[in-house]
Amino acid sequence: MHEAAITQALIEQVRAAMPPGARLQRCAVQVGELEHLDPYVMQTIWQASTANTDLRGAELVIERVALRVRCGACAREFTPADRSIMLCPSCGSVKPQLLSGTGIILRSLEVERT
């Protein structure tokens, strides 16, 4: 259930980034594929935790960020076809360095002046 911990951290960060006196309409967040976060669970927690607060009614938009790696042997960048097979299509090594696919990033807030 780390969706709960992550969504709470997100809500705190949203509050910190909100301009004073504005009302949140939408918040966009990027979630790496390897974070294993269930977007439906995050939505449920978001709704439950923002209801009856200053953020009530705001929409959460979750964008999934695909896994991308760089081959540690030949530096070729590629998206693995299967996330458990990291074989480099150029040189055949299995020395992936993660470029994207991890991390939870708050990207934008859509706000309305009140």
Binding site: A5, A17, E35, P96, I105, L106, L109, V111
Partner: protein
């Protein structure tokens, strides 16, 4: 109006992890974060090997658990300091909890802090605790498909351990599949196979830990002297 932000949602955690890393470096203490499913043998591996690593190494343990202090009790007489963190339902340790754990240990009297993370292979990997190395455990009875199902721990671990190898003759576990899946994720990560029943692999694990502590102390000494001259 749209406001662009690029903010790591785990920023707070990562900042506290950086503080932990600095406190450990200043005290010259290496730190190993051990992650694996409930019952994969994290505590048992420590019970079997702490007596061999000590007294040459002074070792503190931070035991993370949802409830109970049982792991801390099992390890108390085997290490130079133990502190239990009860996460109260949370399935991972975060950097702030470890910060409190570190405050309960006499860091200057230690060479190594071992963190036994909450039993879970998924989210502990997301939370940086300030460790110098991450270790992932898989156990034979969990089945051979676990590396393929939990690729991130394989991709990020500094060391992987396959525990309970004494059970290989007794449970269906296709070692060929386990190895092939693991090596389809990374061919450069060290895998140590252990059993606390037969004793297999325990020396190899202790060797790895000793080398890790030596290397880490070298790195930290350079970082600390650099930050002093800056």
């Amino acid at each position: 109006m749209e406001i662009k932000v690029v903010a790591n949602v785990l920023k707070l955690n990562d900042e506290v992890a950086a503080l932990n890393r600095r406190a450990l470096a200043e005290a010259g203490v290496a730190c190993l974060n051990i992650m694996g499913s409930p019952g994969c043998g994290k505590t048992a591996l420590l019970e079997a090997t702490l007596p061999r690593l000590r007294p040459a190494l002074k070792i503190g343990v931070i035991a993370g658990d949802i409830a109970t202090t049982r792991d801390a009790e099992r390890l108390a007489h085997l290490c130079d300091g133990v502190t239990q963190i009860n996460t109260g339902g949370s399935c991972h340790l975060d950097a702030n909890q470890v910060r409190q754990g570190l405050a309960n240990l006499d860091l200057h009297a230690l060479d190594l802090v071992i963190i036994e993370n909450v039993g879970n292979l998924i989210c502990p990997v997301t939370f940086d605790l300030g460790q110098g190395a991450k270790m992932g455990l898989f156990s034979v009875p969990e089945g051979a498909d676990k590396p393929a199902k939990h690729p991130r721990i394989v991709l990020e671990a500094d060391l992987l351990v396959l525990t309970k190898t004494d059970l290989l003759p007794h449970v269906p576990f296709d070692k060929t599949i386990f190895d092939a899946d693991l090596r389809s994720l990374r061919d450069d990560v060290t895998l140590i196979e252990t059993s606390v029943v037969s004793g297999a692999g325990l020396d190899a694990w202790c060797q790895w830990v000793r080398r890790f502590v030596d290397e880490r102390k070298g790195v930290q000494a350079r970082q600390v002297s650099q930050s002093r001259t800056e």
